[in-house]
Subunit: 327 residues, 2 copies
């Protein structure tokens, strides 16, 4: 099992890495040492104003990178690792994040390669980065076969099989949110229907609750407010998380049958509600995962904090033997 423990291979380089995590609302950057510890990190809003164009966003990201490198004392770095909202062309790293409209096929990898010449730059999905971090240093440590899930505005994920990150044909493996759990289910943003994401994404939860008669005082109330109401025993709010847990449990049951993972690590904003989501999830999973090898899968909460995205991004460089297959 030594190969699966955290740490770095014997032949690994010792310089730190510049790591970047790009979401629709915030960007984070950090300098991560060769053992995967965050030495310095900082964050900024992704958009300073609604007028921001692609280059303005890039300029702010680059300034943030320079600022953390300064704060770390301008060390020599061995590479740049990036998690960014999808979709993207992978491994080219030309990104079109759903929640960041000014970037459409934006050449993120090429820009970073020009800014930090001579270094490997590796860009992957932001949910995948979080999953890599949890596998490397968190709730999946030492587990050879793991499904990681991030249940938030969307439902993302990543697959670790045989101790390695699985990329699939186009770098899109791990889209557990678009497994179909109910063929007559609600329409999904992807164009299909009945996907896990259609039931379990935060905005979907809130929209369903409204349809069922949830009337929060604040008209902009979201899944976080819905969670508060569920904890206060509001019937519709509880039913919304029950339904999301049901869909997640079904998706996990199918994923375990197909991939024989030993562990699932499920995080993201929606999961913060805790047992109101995890109890129906577990009940559904145990109802549908009945084979000897599927019965024993464990569903765990993540261990790492909000730095997980940059830790995982650093993993693409520091543990490329496991977490980067593309070059």
């Amino acid at each position: 099992m030594t190969d699966l423990e955290a740490g770095h291979p014997a032949d690994a380089r010792t310089e730190p890495v510049l790591a970047v995590d790009i979401g629709g609302t915030k960007i984070a950057a950090g300098v991560v040492d060769a053992d995967g510890r965050v030495l310095v990190s900082d964050r900024a809003p992704t958009l300073a104003s609604h007028d921001d164009d692609a280059d303005a966003i890039w300029a702010r990201l680059h300034a943030l990178c320079e600022s953390v490198l300064d704060a770390a004392g301008r060390p020599a770095i061995q590479g740049v690792g990036v998690g960014c909202g999808g979709p993207m062309r992978w491994p080219e790293g030309a990104v079109s994040p759903v929640n960041l409209l000014p970037w459409r096929d934006f050449p993120l990898r090429a820009r970073l390669a020009a800014a930090y010449p001579g270094l490997p730059v590796r860009v992957h999905n932001d949910a995948v980065a979080v999953v890599v971090a949890e596998h490397w240093q968190g709730a999946g440590r030492g587990v050879a076969n793991m499904l990681g899930m991030v249940v938030s505005t969307g439902v993302g994920g990543g697959l670790i099989l045989g101790g390695r990150l699985i990329d699939g044909g186009s770098g899109n493996a791990g889209h557990v949110g678009h497994m179909v759990v109910d063929p007559q289910g609600p329409p999904c943003g992807c164009g299909s229907r009945g996907c896990v994401e259609a039931f379990a994404r935060g905005p979907g939860l809130a929209a369903w609750a409204r349809e069922q008669g949830w009337r929060p005082n604040d008209p902009t109330a979201n899944a976080r407010d819905l969670a508060d109401d569920a904890r206060a025993d509001h019937k519709v709010a509880r039913a919304a998380f029950e339904r999301a847990g049901w869909a997640l449990g079904l998706g996990i049951a199918s994923a375990v049958a197909l991939c024989d993972v030993e562990r699932v690590v499920l995080g993201g904003g929606v999961s913060q509600v805790g047992p109101l989501l995890f109890d129906p999830l577990e009940r559904t999973l145990r109802e549908y995962a009945r084979m000897e090898f599927t019965r024993h899968v464990k569903v765990e909460r993540p261990i790492l904090d909000q730095d997980a995205g940059i830790v995982g991004a650093a993993g693409f460089i520091l543990r490329g033997d496991r977490y980067w297959s593309a070059d």
Copy 2:
């Protein structure tokens, strides 16, 4: 792409392999050369009589192995590869095939190791062996990410990701037949409900058709007879395959979202019915697989003949770099 082409690695040994394929009704054995060509093969019924105990079955299997080795001129062999009906403890190779009751936790790998001392013996699921054969030499050749399916008495499968066979935590990866496609669907033999297998396995098709009023002249009529009736435009028979195709299409859509496979290779007795199954499968798959990366998956028929099981079993030894992870 060279690494993904058929053939053997530069450092590979040149001796042939003894390859075995064990099902509920027949056993097959062959001698396969280092390039994966079947030099000699033969088959026998698995059970000679209903009284056969575990040792009688083993004795017949061993005699079949000796007979093909004799027919090949008693070459020095480099190992023994086996595909066997599941479930099994893997990689220990202690097997309990669903359709072979006398073998319960039967130490197949240990028996073969004792019979052919000093050689590696590798035992894996029989559906996995067929999938390996199709990836190595058949319809999946050169494809890095592939789901193979065998739709027959059960619905089995195997996953190739990143050019390698995926085993999962207990050697059970690839159980696409137990992905849940309809949470309100019919009970499945695994204890769950709504699994692909509950809709698409041959006996399930025939049973459903009977419930819907299919009245074949022969009371023992099976899925093959149902296929004949479907070709003759019998309404219920057609609906049975339509329903199976729907379930398979849904399972594939979810598998592609999770694993980002570029190709699916689908064979097995039930698939022989052709377009009556594949048309609804394709229709359903295209309805539910709507993302850029899922839209382009291709579903192909297998290329190899009935020797696929022994070719794949040989692959566990001859291409262990891709198809064997356990030692």
